[in-house]
Amino acid sequence: MNAPLMILEIAVVLLGLVILLADLWTPPSQKQSLGYIAAAAVGLILLGSFFIEAPQARYACGQMYVMDDLALYFKRFFLLATVAVLVMSVEFADRIEAGISEYYALILFALSGMMFAASANDFVLVFVALELITVTFYILTSFQRSRVPSLEAGIKYLILGALSSAFMVYGIALVFGTANTTNFAEIATGAKAISAKPIFLLGLLLVLVGLGFKIAAFPFQMWAPDVYQGSPAPTTAFLAVGSKAAGFVLLLRVLFSAVPEVTVSWTKLLMIISGVTILYGNLCAVPQRNLKRLLGYSTIAHAGYMLLGVTAMSVAGSYAILYYLGGYLFTVLAAFTVICVVMRAVEGDDISAVAGLHQRSPLLAVTMALAMVSLAGIPPLAGFFGKFLLLKAVIEKGALQPAYYWLTAAALIGVVISFYYYLGVVKAIYWSEAPADQPALQISKPTRFSLYGCIAGMLYLGIFPNDMVEIALHAAQALKL
């Protein structure tokens, strides 16, 4: 079993249970601040994670659970994201009628699912972890029970998620049927013999469909805009950052640990998916007026950018993904925290809600503007360097296969299109008049710290990328590419 290896996950699950229990003894007026306690505790677990080292891969639960640098990188990523999401949730708490403690607990349970996903070394754990994430998100998306859009988002996510899970579990069954194992390492050693079997490939493809759903890659992206738009803002943020990153870590593990040979033969397919996802996400974002929906499409595009790193089939590509996710974390959380604060009094999340934001709150305006600029990939922010690394990884491969250049071109076109709608938001913030009689914006201290942290992260990763590159490179080497 080797349970001590899973100490971080165990701590998170326990924390979730503690929050649920604490709810019983906490007076209603204090329940909101349980979120801060949860955030602080997650922060402590994050600190604790730095006492764990994994230079050599170690295993638990047979070979199902692996602890290596990559797993550790993503666990820290998820922990950090959760801290910000919990802070955001407290900010959002007064918009949730009942059960705020459950909301916090569910976030923690989703977090544990993500952390298990980071360590998945077996298709069974892949499935279990994903279901843990997805099922909690079904509830998280529909948590504003009296709001129809929220319920609609929940239902859509539930049905489409169930569909994709069905494909995935069918795929896993097919893989197990042909390979007689679900363990990545064993599949990798026996891959030569079975990789020619169409049934095995079919099984793998269906698994990829399930993962494609998680990261919202074309053509499995349909759910994303509706769910992003309808869900409570903290849920959306957690979906955009945590759930997507979980999808990516699984994708990396499946593609490069379990079936590297097959993956290479699917390069073209991945390239097409990547390119189309980028263009689709960016093109659809252009006419959007709803901020959350716009960001929903934008995250589709970003999934496409990160797929660039997958198509490169190299360490350079993989660590670029890790780096990109790092910058993406700060950027998206910054944007959603601002949305969370600004949209308090506004129904509909329209871009006009941030019009003239710089007059109402310079901090929020700057944060949002920086987030948009970082998402657009303009130096000196994190988003720029991430895109640079991804494109560099792809172009390096261009000498072998010219198709990579076409992919680069598609990505660049996507980036240019994205300027339009990202800068449109900046324009609204700084060059539009704020509507009269807007209520004053109150920013709580923890939220303020969270915003500062996000700004610092975006700037630090953009201006001093070396440390982070080092860490990402280290983590990516665990993939043995």
């Binding site: 490939l201 469909v209 349909m222 659809c284």
Partner: protein, 622 residues
């Protein structure tokens, strides 16, 4: 200590500019004193340095590598040799006199602090040019000089004429500097260095190192000098620059900044090949003649001096062109003294007449402003080349060099000399002698001590600079054989006549001709009788050969045309086709794709499954 002195000399004025701008702006007196103190300090330190280190100190001093990009290494260093040290003395010495004079001249002005801050900034920039040991450093200070000149010409920015003039000066200079910069880049690309000493060694080793680029590079670098030293056809800015305060005209537009072009040409003389020099010589000659002709028919006292400056700068550039950089520098030096003094004298007159600048409203100032008159007369004598004044010797050297190289240029030089003495004595006769031609002239008083003292101080070198052996210092710098030193002052005076009698006598003849013509026409005159005799020609001169009008039409037409074309391109091709087109297509795509996103769950499920089918088909179906 000795090493630190040049740095101190360079940075004292900057310090003063910064301190005035940041701290003492409110206190006009203190600001003025700071600025004056800085330049007088620089002057004293310069003399101290020369006394300590002599005229040939350490050839090169390079303290800081300022910029290093690949092969390009730019140092920030000071070049110290006879050329730069003499120039240092001129800038700080003449500058000191003018700073002190300014204290009197600008005393009533509200913005005196700003004036002195700009003046200090200018001094710093000018010293930077003088001391630069590489092209980049020189170019940076070159532009700084441009900026400070802009600030000073436009000092009275509330006057539209001053605002226009400073804009014109800056833009015209930029035009020349553009060529200068390309020239610098050409030299760098061909020789791989920008340091003067390295370049000089490279070219000495291999004279053809620049290859076919040699002429082009030389001429492009000359473009820079053309702008700063106001050579034809970029001369138009200098007369307008007289809109600035008169001491500024004296310092910047007579003694120092406009000399920077000539100085730079002498500094990089080793770069210039024969064809480039020929062009330079002709440009200088044409400028000298053109400006002298225009000066003959100007009535504004400062404009006469401005055109005279142009003409003399043409002389210097011509001297460079006839392979006589030491003569050019010699004339630059003496000219700095007497022209600065003439401008200050003019300023004194203007000050006394309450900003009257038309010489036909003056007259009879000799008795009322004796110091101003006598110093002005000395300056005129020096400028016209009367022996034994300094101008005589330096002009003679140029004429000698020209007579060796190019007969036509020599004749041109003599003609210009005649014109020079004509228009200068015209100025003397009309403005200082004869009857008083306006009530203001009748009530004029001598200027205060603080203004007359600098005049007297500058009169000393005006008279004596020919006997100080300056030409030998420059001669050594440019590798000329040192001639046997004449034993006494007396011999020195007649030396030109023994050495090259043709040039000396021609110069003297021209002087006499010009003087007598002016005497004939303008003695006791109350109006100009020249137009009656020469008609069209004088009208053309009066209108400055219509250069401004020509440029105005040229610029208006070409610029309007280019602007219209650019506007059309921008409006229709860029904004219309590219931006609107791209934006429209993308927006269209976005809207079309959005239609897929119906919000209908059944549709989503269908599309999802269709997507799965698509992927499966891609892998298995082909």
């Amino acid at each position: 200590m000795k090493e630190a002195l040049p740095w101190l000399i360079l940075f004292l004025p900057l310090l003063s500019a910064v301190v005035i701008t940041l701290f003492t702006k409110k206190d006009r007196e203190l600001s003025a004193k700071l600025s004056i103190g800085a330049i007088v300090g620089s002057f004293a330190l310069s003399m101290l340095f020369i006394a300590l280190a002599g005229w040939e100190p350490i050839k090169q001093e390079s303290l800081v590598t300022w910029l290093g990009v690949g092969e390009l290494q730019v140092d920030f260093g000071l070049r110290l040799d006879a050329l730069s040290l003499l120039m240092l003395l001129i800038v700080t010495g003449v500058g000191s006199a003018i700073h002190i004079y300014s204290y009197g001249y600008m005393h009533e002005d509200r913005s005196m602090s700003r004036y002195f801050a700009s003046l200090s900034l200018f001094t710093f920039s000018m010293l930077g040019i003088v001391l630069a040991n590489n092209f980049i450093q020189m170019f940076i200070f070159w532009e700084l000089v441009g900026v400070s000149s802009y600030l000073l010409i436009g000092f009275w920015h509330e006057r539209p004429a001053a605002a226009d003039a400073c804009k014109k000066a800056f833009l015209t200079n930029r035009l020349g500097d553009f060529g200068f910069l390309i020239g610098i880049l050409l030299v760098w690309s061909a020789l791989g260095s920008l340091k003067f000493s390295v370049l000089e060694i490279e070219l000495a080793k291999n004279p053809d190192a620049l290859g076919t680029l040699a002429t082009a590079a030389g001429l492009l670098i000359f473009c820079g000098a053309m702008g700063k030293s106001a050579q034809f056809p970029l001369h138009v800015w200098l007369p307008d620059a007289m809109e600035g305060p008169t001491p500024v005209s004296a310092l910047i537009h007579a003694a120092t900044m406009v000399a920077a072009g000539v100085y730079m040409l002498c500094r990089v003389f080793f770069l210039l090949n024969a064809p480039a020099l020929a062009v330079i010589g002709w440009i200088g000659g044409i400028t000298a003649l053109l400006a002298a002709l225009i000066a003959v028919q100007q009535n504004d006292i400062k404009r006469i001096l401005a055109y005279s400056t142009l003409s003399q700068l043409g002389y210097m550039v011509m001297a460079v062109g006839v392979h006589a950089p030491s003569a050019a520098m010699y004339h630059l030096t003496t000219h700095a003294f007497f022209k600065a003094m003439l401008f200050l004298g003019a300023g004194s007159v203007i000050h006394a007449l309450h900003h009257e600048q038309n010489i036909w409203n003056m007259g009879a100032l000799k008795s009322k402003m004796p110091i101003t008159f006598w110093t002005f007369l000395l300056g005129t004598l020096a400028l016209s080349g009367v022996p034994p004044f300094s101008g005589f010797f330096s002009k003679d050297e140029i004429l000698v060099a020209a007579s060796h190289q190019n007969g036509v240029l020599f004749a041109l030089g003599v003609l210009v000399a005649a014109l020079t003495s004509f228009y200068m004595f015209r100025l003397i006769f009309v403005a200082f002698l004869g009857p008083a031609k306006s009530p203001a002239a009748g009530h004029a008083h001598e200027s205060p001590r603080v203004m007359t003292l600098p005049l007297v101080a500058l009169a000393v070198p005006t008279v004596l600079a020919g006997f100080w052996g300056i030409e030998n210092l420059y001669g050594k710098q440019f590798g000329l054989v040192e001639e046997a030193h004449p034993s006494s002052w007396f011999n020195h005076l007649f030396e030109p006549f023994n050495h090259a009698p043709l040039a000396a006598l021609a110069g003297l003849g021209a002087l006499v001709f010009g003087l007598s013509a002016a005497w004939h026409l303008y003695r006791n005159a109350t109006r100009d009788r020249l137009p009656e005799t020469f008609g069209v020609l004088t009208r053309v001169m009066q209108n400055r050969f219509y250069f401004d009008e020509f440029y105005a039409t040229l610029i208006a037409n070409t610029q309007d045309l280019a602007a219209k074309a650019a506007d059309a391109f921008d409006r229709w091709i860029i904004a219309g086709l590219l931006i609107k087109g791209a934006h429209g297509t993308i927006e269209l795509f976005g809207r079309a794709l959005r239609l897929m996103q119906t919000g209908n769950l059944q549709t989503y499920t269908f599309l999802f499954v269709a997507g799965v089918a698509l992927v499966l088909f891609y892998v298995f179906g082909r």
